[in-house]
Symmetry: D3
Subunit: 201 residues, 6 copies
């Protein structure tokens, strides 16, 4: 049943954080992450609207809410895992997730709706439309914000450095001025976080 | 800063569950809950669409994503707490949450957007429009689904009975046929959950 | 039943810590805090005794044990929450907690005892008697000690700075020389905690 | 420093519960337990007072607050551990705990107070005075109440049966009518907890 | 560095349990599981020795200790995930894990040792030698024992039924009389676990 | 039953870490630790083999797997606890653990095997044979590696300093060149961990 699969996302950890030495009790769930992505995507969309009337906010939110749905079946697949899939890794991953999503959505027992949702997921995968780029940017912004949160809790900057760099570069590829502005502000916040101890202590 | 407040929702527990003896480590975050509510609300909306073209899905999703935002400041307020506010409890709660939300949204530094969001929250509070009734129904459905999840983990039916009944009656007041149909299915699922041990064992 | 309400305090987290980015799994329970407050209050009392024979230790301990009892119903109310109650916040909070405590104590089914306990709670609230000032000081000292504990675990000094300052100023208002002496020692400990890395490393 | 040892009790788990298959994340701390014991002991004392004016409540509370203090150094010693100490187990345990307590209390840097506290602990160990019997009874009542709490969370009655029986028999040896009355009520509550599913389901 | 990869296994959860609704805080680590497998494999080997002198215990233990090593990079891959790899799933998984293991073992900077370990892993994969069948049986026995542990904690038999059946059938394919005898005893234990409530209650 | 005792080790925390202010949710289980010790001991053995053909790897692994078995009954005994056993502490501890291990192993219902395992444990205790020195070294190396892991998570170097020093000195007493080489590398890693912030920040 679709709703059981949906609820499971509350219990599925974003395991990738374990690689960066976040305590597994502090690792967020896929649901928690997807919520943040949706809100950030909403705000990016609304910020773009005055200059770009055509952004389809409903589509943005549908994509954001569904973008990690397949993890209810596949769980959060580690980066390292993909590396060992070799050159074809990204392709294999995409195929697996597409199948998982189709299976999950068939649980809706509403083939028209299921097709609509599959369409949104494919648009997200292709990462071409403005809407999908907004969701990809929101996905990256949530990661950067979460890294800052973990650092404020006491997790080490150096341990989190590789994921910060990787995400920053992903965000740049989204090519959205608003998102890039915010990224610069987050980098500023992060620098201040570091300097505080040396200054104050 | 608004985004810090948003991220905090990942760490704020839905404390009400503690009253029903859910281990505090198994209590979901406000973000996790809000994600489920948004997805359920999306599906309710899409199910209604063929017969009711006018449902504003963007509005539904905005409301669902924002409906518990104020808990980033106020945290999850226990039912018992409200009872001790006396007759004026609901009114006081509404006022507090409105102010908290305003304060949070002012962090967006975008007064037009902030007003729009406040508007959605007020519509949700008044619970009159179709859109707000959909979100209230999704809020209740997520609770019922979560109770089932907890029971499947081994938490006791009898301990969770009061919250099940209260939520079921809230859902009925939403007056949405789709939601009521699903509730009946969930009640069936719950009955089967109980009968299994005696039958099978 | 009163004892069920008492036991629940073991599971109720001191949610305020979440604001200061303590992992919710590391947040202490109300019971744990109240235990420390009672032991600290006992030691403050005994330290005062030689110079102030009149301190009523039984009263001090009763107050310390009961001072957060109402949180079994109201849960730990966040500071932010109160701010949104506006000017009348403190008054509203006091009224809510008084009612919650009365309701809880009625579960003792011993009206004489219940009245005695309500009396202790009111004396604590008014914060005038020596006994109540001792418990308020112990409440603050436990907070300062807990901040030090969290810092020793690796939580960041800067993130905890606001709660340290606020608590230190509360403690000063208790106007107890013993407590102020200890506070100065704790401040010294905290400074050394910070300097250690730079010196030793 | 004494206060560091005191704070550590918040983090020391009552490991014995692990033997009875309580999840180690749901195991209470020594501080949480000691808080409950103190409040229960206070209520037992006050209930006895009208018929037995001589009960020294201050002494009862001091004993209750200190009775597990040594576990800050020794941690919670498993029953099984003692069994392997052979016939002399209880004696060895008593000696260890006495030394640990003395060491801890020397941290108070107040030899008169330290002697007073050691006196209370010895009275508690000898279990002869009314005051010490009250604290022993409160210790057992907290265990029985905690077993009920765990059962209400979904932990199995049969897994907890041995500790229930052992504690019930300890409580009887305290020879306090009030405590025995409450025990009978708790046994009734436990029976109803079991019968509910069969009756209601 | 190899040792960092080894230590990470302590923090990697056996995520598969989440599918069966085990709280993610109660999910064991890969290290914990591998330890049990090694001890069980040791005992199976020693039990076989009197009748089968040729069992190479050193080889059995090496295999048991290394059999899930690749999960340090790939994490615990969910069953569901594999299903979505289609017919070639098992093959893809095997290839990924082989590559991950090679990469990990290259961290030993001792190519002779690394080749020896790769050899043990390949023998384990082919599941033909007596030694590898012992480790596969121990892997399954640990799962059955863990299911019993979870049921004793209060997790539901019905929720765990699918994994019990699947594992039992895997164990049978190992074709080891000793292991099958133990399985029958575990099935007996499980039946008694279920009947206890109805009999005793 | 022996297997129940074995499985319990997955849930028994290495409580000693609590003294060094590791969150009790991040404390590893005895099983997790024993797994690492066995793998490290395997690698030490294999590294020694070319120059010392006589090392009995099967014996090394048996010892490593069994060396903390008794903690299934005795739990992890705190250092502080032993100190309060006085001069005879080590002797008492050894006796308790020997008895606990015998009792546990009698659960195997195979007296020949049980005697063999007791033999391995006694050899480990006497710490004379090469095999037992390898396991003692592996035990210490796992501790040093775990300290580094905790520091990388954000736990403080200064809080962990005493256990680092104590373990380093234990390791030296094992008198194994390979182990001492690795220790020096770990010390180098630790120094770099410290210098990174000051250099990079």
């Amino acid at each position: 049943m679709f709703f059981d699969d949906l609820m499971r996302l509350k219990r599925i950890p974003r395991s990738g954080w374990i690689t960066y030495r976040i305590s597994r009790h502090d690792v967020e769930s896929v649901s928690s992450h997807s919520y943040s992505v949706a809100v950030i995507a909403l705000i990016v969309s609304e910020t773009l609207r005055p200059t770009n009337q055509k952004v389809d906010v409903e589509e943005v939110l549908r994509m954001a809410l569904l973008h990690d749905l397949s993890e209810s079946l596949t769980f959060d697949i580690s980066k390292a895992y993909l590396r060992y899939l070799g050159r074809t890794g990204a392709k294999v991953k995409a195929r697996i997730e597409r199948r998982a999503a189709s299976h999950l959505l068939s649980g809706l027992q509403n083939s028209k709706l299921s097709r609509k949702f599959v369409g949104s997921l494919e648009e997200y995968s292709s990462a071409k439309s403005l809407e999908s780029r907004i969701v990809h940017a929101a996905d990256a912004l949530d990661l950067l914000l979460q890294i800052l949160e973990y650092q404020r809790m006491g997790y080490r900057k150096t341990t989190l450095e590789p994921i910060w760099r990787e995400t920053r570069s992903k965000l740049k590829h989204c090519n959205l001025d608003v998102a890039n502005d915010w990224m610069r502000r987050l980098e500023q916040v992060r620098r201040e976080l570091d300097s505080t101890p040396t200054r104050k202590r």
